[in-house]
Symmetry: C2
Subunit: 388 residues, 2 copies
Amino acid sequence: MKLVENNVCAPKGFSALGKIVGIKKSGKMDFAVLFSDVPADAAAVYTSNKVKGAPLIVTKEHLQDGKAQAIVVNSGIANVCTGKKGIEDAREIAASAAKELHIGAEDVLVASTGLIGAYLPMDRLLSGIKGIRNELKKEKHDAAKAIMTTDLYEKEIAVKSENFTIGAIAKGAGMVHPNMATMLCFITTDAKIPADKLKKFLKSSVDKSFNMISVDMDMSTSDMAVILANGHAGSADEKKFQQALDFVCIEMAKKIARDGEGATKLIEVEAKNAKTAEDARKIARSVITSNLVKCAFFGNDPNWGRIMSAVGSSGAEFNESLMDIHFGNVQIVSRGAAAAFDFRKVQDIMKKDCLKITLDMKQGRENAKAYGCDMTYDYVKINAVYHT
Amino acid sequence: MKLVENNVCAPKGFSALGKIVGIKKSGKMDFAVLFSDVPADAAAVYTSNKVKGAPLIVTKEHLQDGKAQAIVVNSGIANVCTGKKGIEDAREIAASAAKELHIGAEDVLVASTGLIGAYLPMDRLLSGIKGIRNELKKEKHDAAKAIMTTDLYEKEIAVKSENFTIGAIAKGAGMVHPNMATMLCFITTDAKIPADKLKKFLKSSVDKSFNMISVDMDMSTSDMAVILANGHAGSADEKKFQQALDFVCIEMAKKIARDGEGATKLIEVEAKNAKTAEDARKIARSVITSNLVKCAFFGNDPNWGRIMSAVGSSGAEFNESLMDIHFGNVQIVSRGAAAAFDFRKVQDIMKKDCLKITLDMKQGRENAKAYGCDMTYDYVKINAVYHT
């Protein structure tokens, strides 16, 4: 498996575009299209929030047959809490793009991200959709940029493994939380994989990646991860495919965590040797979502008491008097109590832009990793002023 | 029912003290004693965090007989994650105070709040305990001040209803979350109520108050609410007693929420007309705990999309297309979509130091209120630097 260029355009038969249609006040790119030259097998995983965006509802309908050929995405407005009109708008976008691309409307998936409760400027969107067929190409970064909201940088990757290639772009910076919260990830591959298997592979990768990140506790209304497999590279070894898809999704999840609103560093929490896999996941996620832990990380303060407290409220089975905690390679806690450690050495570790925390539960053999970031003044600033 | 002075000392037969024993580096008061002149019926509710402080373990033991006569509290160090030595220390504090007060050690309850993972300075504590019997008096604010950590002001109340009086002091500013997270509340009454009933009344009041506040998502390891009833005023009407206790606990909960670390305002979220009582509680709590909602409140931004999203991730049954939202008396959302409202008028409402949000679910007849605060730069600042 090796990294290659061109993200979603790396697999055979895929093209993309990113452009300005005029939704964002900033004047930045706000519209993207991903396209496969033949109908592809397709699968998706959606937000668990009960309030669901209109695009998500339409995408779900269009994916019922397990086939899709294009994904049309806008940023700036999420088209959520917009009632019947919102759903009609999402349908019209799909239909209009389908007409331009000479495919069926049910083969177009739609996604929107941005402000909740506002209507899409349909005139500008429909003007922007005109002529997209000729604008599609093997492009490098435009689609990744056009789906950004408060993201500071584009999130993209492509890997080649055996005979197939997998590419992905993603967005997500605020409202990112376990259970697929405000993030979008679009994955393309030229491997030949039927839709039902694709769904299984995607679900498995998402559980190890996007469901293990947290920037804050809020689950978004619009999140989805979608994969299109157009078959140009022929059948793939299933194990190798799952491995490659895991890698792609975990790398994208880390990029999202590192780009958490206001974040200064990526934090990786591994819960090792938990009693059950679910306990390991609960512990890692409880620590990564604790505001107090995240503030301490911003302050480069090895406040392990807050970690113990977060583990205690995780709902997992554990015995605190067995637990060890390491920050990087320095042991902070030994059998549930303070270890003697060099405070300066730990602070140096905490000041790096990637901090690894390991919790050894000594209760069993199950491990899980969660990814997040520190909580900073800028997190508050960004979220106190972000509005229409 | 009317407000009276002297908080925990207001009911007949109770005295208290607050003093400096030298645990806090700031040199502020860090030690308090509450005392009843006769053994009292007693009950407590504890944190649900699986990591429990040593004082909590000892208090639980001493409360097994439903009787207590004194509560001894220190602030500055929580005596949590301190292993066997922590428990021995807590026992020694109780025994030493009991000796001074001429009562049995099992009638002394102990509580500690502050930093996790450090040992108590036992020499200073034991010196401080010497002579407490002569220092106890009908005092006004000292005990309330001595139990503070990052609290900005003391939290105290007393009410007289019918023949009985109830008084309370509390602390809590950070790590405050539903399910009794880092807060202490000590309640005294001269009503005569047997311990088993006292427990039932306390649990019911806590569910409406301390379990409905949130400053952040972290559950503490040391929280407890304790009530002592010494019977000097004779039997009380049970309904009146529950009403008075509810009032005392809700007022203390609001004071804690308003004093949330870095908070600039108190926020009260009421979920009305939910299908079930549990749904109403879930909805109110999900909104009050959302970082994004809290940041928007700090920015005086009526970002109702974040509220909808928080309701959607609450796990409660609801129909978004029925929902109305009011900020104060201004309707922001009508049947799940934006209502036409005067932005300036809403901003004026949001700028006040107490903001009331009402969510009308129109799904049934159950209501619940939750209390919290906004999230600010100072929240991050306080929690990035608080350390030994």
